[in-house]
């Protein structure tokens, strides 16, 4: 193990330690998520003025853009965790990678749905094959592939390694897909509608957006920690520390 990694990081990767660490941090992460989310929603839904072009429908941007950002951000984290898990065989990295996938898929799904609901009043169509939405759809398939591959193995650790490899192949593919979909749009230009976002975003609209971006990040941490804790319990179910937790919760 490389000696530049500080000792506390090394200790943290042991399952019972991380279980406790995540358990302490999780309520704080959720609290921050709810707080910043509420502030962002108040700023976006109540304080910010209506857009002169899109009226009040543009307010979907306050959830659509943070979700789109998270869908890409989580895929990046998943790929990094996958890389770490394949190279150094760290069980915690495997769990973090595999449990990030459903959260990322959820954000991608919300991105697509909110994008569609934004598109209908704005461009008159529920779906458009523009570069960004199409890339987002392919991203959803990539997530589902990773999740599907992980669950198709009997041995969970082997499944995690295979799915981690797939995640890394996928992330190399994401910029390629984006580039090719852009080119495809220019080739078939007549039939597609270009997305016109708010051309210049005013400060009143910008700060709720950025606050919501922070809120979704806190949420990701809270959700991830919950999922990792649950997964660690089932992976390590033979160990004493898990048995103790099970007995304690049985008596409660």
């Amino acid at each position: 193990m490389a000696n530049w990694i500080p000792l506390w990081v090394h200790k943290l990767s042991s399952p019972p330690n991380f279980y406790r660490f995540a358990g302490t941090l999780r309520p704080w992460a959720l609290g921050l998520a709810l707080l910043t989310g509420a502030i962002a929603l108040y700023g976006g839904l109540v304080l910010a003025p209506a857009d002169y072009q899109q009226g009040d429908a543009y307010r979907i941007i306050f959830i659509h853009v943070p979700c789109a950002w998270m869908s890409l951000f989580i895929y990046g984290l998943m790929a990094v965790a996958s890389f770490i898990s394949l190279v150094w065989r760290i069980k915690l990295a495997e769990v973090v990678a595999m449990e990030s996938a459903p959260i990322g898929a959820a954000f991608t799904f919300v991105t697509l749905v909110t994008g569609s609901l934004w598109g209908k009043p704005m461009w008159g169509t529920w779906w458009t094959w523009d570069a960004r939405l199409t890339s987002e759809l392919v991203l959803l398939f990539l997530y589902l592939g990773v999740i599907g591959l992980y669950h198709s193995f009997e041995d969970r650790r082997q499944g995690a390694r295979a799915a981690a490899f797939l995640a890394i192949i996928g992330i190399i593919n994401v910029p390629i897909v984006h580039f090719s979909v852009n080119w495809w749009n220019t080739l078939h230009q007549g039939s597609t509608i270009r997305i016109l976002g708010p051309s210049k975003i005013s400060t009143a609209m910008l700060w709720p957006l950025l606050t919501m971006m922070a809120a979704t990040k806190f949420y990701y941490v809270a959700s991830l920690f919950g999922r990792v804790r649950t997964d660690l319990l089932s992976l390590e179910s033979g160990k004493d520390w898990v048995k103790q937790i099970a007995q304690r919760e049985g008596q409660a």
Partner: protein
């Protein structure tokens, strides 16, 4: 040290796989029949109007080829895993990536080449202009090996699991989106009289990269999947 010379080893693997495929000649015909049937479904679904069919011909042929290869990919390593010869190959002193590259080549020869041969016929059934046919063949010559190489990595990943063919499709199709876009885009550009060399060049570049990287990735994937 490595006593067995590399060249003869490659030829041996290639010859073995081609011989085995030839012994099951019927299986070579299946993807071709499948493609033929699927192409005939398009006029039934969309109507026989020539202008409409001509517009979709290039894309329809490409998607059909992709689906036919997807069906055939499933069997790439299966029989070798079942009888243990793949594990012998992994244990052998030859570089695994190179041996797998030979197997992928054999699979492409037996699966994709017949499809490419009938591709002009299929495209003709959908009224693709004859002038565009060469572009279609170039696009297929570059995109089908890409599909074989990418598909091999994914088939290797699922080698040890109780997988369904649908999972392979779910994993492969997002990765194939750029290949489909550039291959079909080349044909569409040629059809509209626009320059079509750029997407073909992109496919070529991707193929060169895949030729180097995919066998290595395939070897890693096999080791991950079979390391039970």
């Amino acid at each position: 040290m490595n006593h067995a010379p590399l060249g003869p080893a490659c030829v041996a693997v290639l010859r073995r796989d081609l011989t085995l495929a030839w012994r099951r000649r019927g299986d070579i015909v299946m993807p071709v029949l499948y493609a033929l049937i699927v192409i005939t479904l398009f006029p039934f679904a969309l109507g026989p109007e020539e202008a409409l069919l001509q517009r979709i011909a290039g894309g329809a042929v490409l998607v059909t080829m992709l689906l036919a290869m997807l069906l055939a990919l499933d069997a790439m390593f299966r029989s070798d895993i079942e009888d243990g010869s793949l594990e012998q190959l992994i244990l052998s002193p030859q570089p695994l990536a190179l041996m797998l590259g030979m197997k992928i080549l054999a699979h492409w020869i037996t699966t994709a080449l017949p499809l490419i041969v009938i591709a002009p016929l299929l495209a003709g059934m959908l009224h693709l202009p004859t002038a565009v046919m060469p572009v279609l063949v170039y696009a297929l010559l570059l995109s089908t090996p890409l599909l074989s190489l990418l598909g091999a990595v994914l088939v290797a990943l699922t080698a040890g699991s109780r997988r369904s063919g649908m999972l392979l499709a779910l994993m492969l199709l997002p990765l194939c989106v750029p290949v489909v876009i550039f291959a079909a885009g080349a044909v569409a550009a040629a059809q509209q009289g626009l320059p079509w060399l750029a997407p073909i060049a992109w496919l070529g570049a991707a193929l060169v990269m895949a030729l180097v990287l995919a066998p290595l990735a395939c070897a890693t994937a096999l080791r991950i999947a079979l390391d039970a």
